[in-house]
Symmetry: none
Subunit: 212 residues, 4 copies
DNA sequence: TATGAATGAGTGTTCATTCAT
DNA sequence: GATGAATGAACACTCATTCAT
């Protein structure tokens, strides 16, 4: 419990702990958190640095002390998302048991995780084109590795004969991850379904679509 | 005298161009076409009015003669997309024949059509938040009507027993249209598959996922 | 009617003629004039665009309508100076008569002309390093052509035996033009000597230093 | 001796560096040296405090410990130059022997010395206007004293009849020191002439120009 | 119908400087 | 002596939009 802090594990001034609006959380953290919220809400281009720093309760100078630029802030958000998702996929893909079960678990998990971090997801595809070309290339490369990891899992199932193989595994990945990225467009926390429920349904649909 | 036009020296001095659909509005058309291309390429916010008018070979004043604002230009793009897609869905849904076939045809068509107008699709979700709140509401309402039309088709299949009914039809729509909107992220015309082929594959997957 | 252009020195709207502070001189002209004055007074880097446009009585937008950047403004000042000086040197160097007389006339003239445009001169050497590398190279190249023109004139005198030749002509140019560039540092219009007088004295000193 | 460079992190942890002149102030020295180099290269205004301290291998706090402000740093550079030049002029002017010889020696020396400290010279005239008004006044006053010292030497020669007196001695100083200040613009160490050679040539030209 | 000069509010970014430690 | 986080004012520049012509 008491989940907080991220980069500097050595906690900072734990004196005013369970306050309403995270009072003296490290500045860097606060900046990323508020930027994520605002970028998701209004888009990267329509959010000014001024709005971000005002929301984080600091001045512009402080932001430029921690981040090289507004783009840098976006980049950090991307880096976090990519790392997190890759870690989770690895865990599910490498688990023991039959391939169908692992695909189902991984699929349901990516849905649930995306819903838990829906702001990140909204930003991801909407703002990719704002990244510097190099960064964009790096993000795409990392994304491709993720895609390939998932595809290999599907291909394993095809070779094992438990999945149909008349549709290329790559195309199935594009088919399924459309649903993942689309979540930010329609899912609302106050809707009838929890993230886990959506995950299970979508994983069921995926598995059903792959029956030979 | 009669200075006008700039880039395309051809049609510029013609008073009544005898070409395609709208005879005396080539400027308006060109503006929408170039705006669509640029908004898809660089994003709405990162594309300046100056770039749009330069690409269309006119001046700013001309743009403000035809459109009330830059937002207006975006709005027109949305209106065209919405109209087109609704028309096509209506046609397929109202066709005769068993429901499974109609769903397959409609699904394959929306994929192929989206690929044919990939720039529109890229703009659609990426720039929705730039529309004025009222416009945004209108677009969402129209989008919902489209969604409901498709959902009703699925529900018809569920009632007929040809589709599984343990997954809400609404959720299936969100599942499938994720794949549609995601096309802009990965599809390239010079890839191995044509729009029609992707459409058929995706429609197959959808139908398979719905088997009871 | 009364089209009142911009660039052309052909005066604009001569209706309010001999007023105090040049009332409605073309905006572009006014910007260059005020920029020259301010850059000479406080330096290029220490003069803000805001100060320039305020002095010219326009807004920033207007400045950026006429000039691509603050650097561009500086560049235009350089271009004007270079053009003017080269023209005058050409005229004196190509005149008929003995070489000593032509050198004396050209030397006296460059002094007098520099004093007449002392602000340009102050800016020239003080702010050269602020120009974009390419522009800087172009300015230096043009400056070198000027230098060489003058050197050739001196070399002509050396070959004719009227100037000493134990000092390289190039070095004499560097020697003499130091005095020219230094004018901005010490000359004041309200001092005891006119520009013409300084010119004659300096030309005398140059000629005397060259006696064989 | 024991030139103690700048960059190397080595000397950083030494508490009592046992090197050259000022034993316990290597940081201060390094700051002045790097500031001189950078101000000459890119101009005072275009050089940030951050760049200076990075080049000197210290942090901003350290700089503000030794100098009151960035302007202070510039001021110190001026003070050093002024002191050095005045000392040398005094030495040459007060030497025994005929006045023409002393003028020649002083002139040749100021050229050579300036070339040896070309960065100082570049800064001198280019950045004078950045000094605080009071400091600027003080620098000008000191400069004037230098000027007058040199002028008196020339006047002594005029009274002795060895120099022409139809050109005011003050004006001759302005004439000659133009060449001195201009050195920073054209002289390069890898050119054909050494500082001493340029000094001799320029002193020759000066003396020749003064022949009655 | 169309131009293009001009606006004015806003943008991201820089930077000399301060201060608690 | 020295650090480095943080400030706050200034900076060059952009851009959608207007309007007289």
């Amino acid at each position: 419990m008491a989940r907080n802090g991220a980069r500097p594990p050595a906690a900072a001034t734990q004196d005013k702990p369970v306050d309403g609006t995270k009072p003296d959380e490290p500045v860097r953290q606060r900046l990323i958190a508020e930027a994520t919220r605002l970028f998701a809400e209004k888009g990267f281009e329509s959010t000014s640095v001024q709005e971000v720093v005002a929301a984080a309760g600091v001045t512009k100078g402080a932001m430029y002390h921690y981040f090289g630029s507004k783009d840098d802030l976006l980049q950090e958000i991307y880096a976090r998302v990519l790392r997190l998702q890759m870690e989770r996929l690895d865990r599910f893909a490498d688990a023991p048991g039959p391939v169908a079960g692992r695909v189902h678990a991984a699929a349901a998990d990516v849905i649930a995780t995306t819903i838990e971090n829906l702001d990140d997801s909204k930003i991801f595809f909407r703002s990719m084109h704002q990244l510097a070309p190099e960064t964009q290339k790096a993000v795409r490369a990392e994304r491709r590795r993720y895609h390939e990891r998932f595809r290999d899992l599907l291909a394993e199932g095809q070779r094992a004969g438990v999945f149909r193989d008349d549709v290329p595994a790559d195309l199935v990945v594009d088919f399924f991850f459309g649903s993942v990225h689309h979540l930010g467009t329609w899912y609302h926390a106050d809707g009838p379904l929890s993230g886990g429920e959506v995950g299970r349904h979508f994983a069921d649909l995926l598995l059903a679509s792959l029956r030979p």
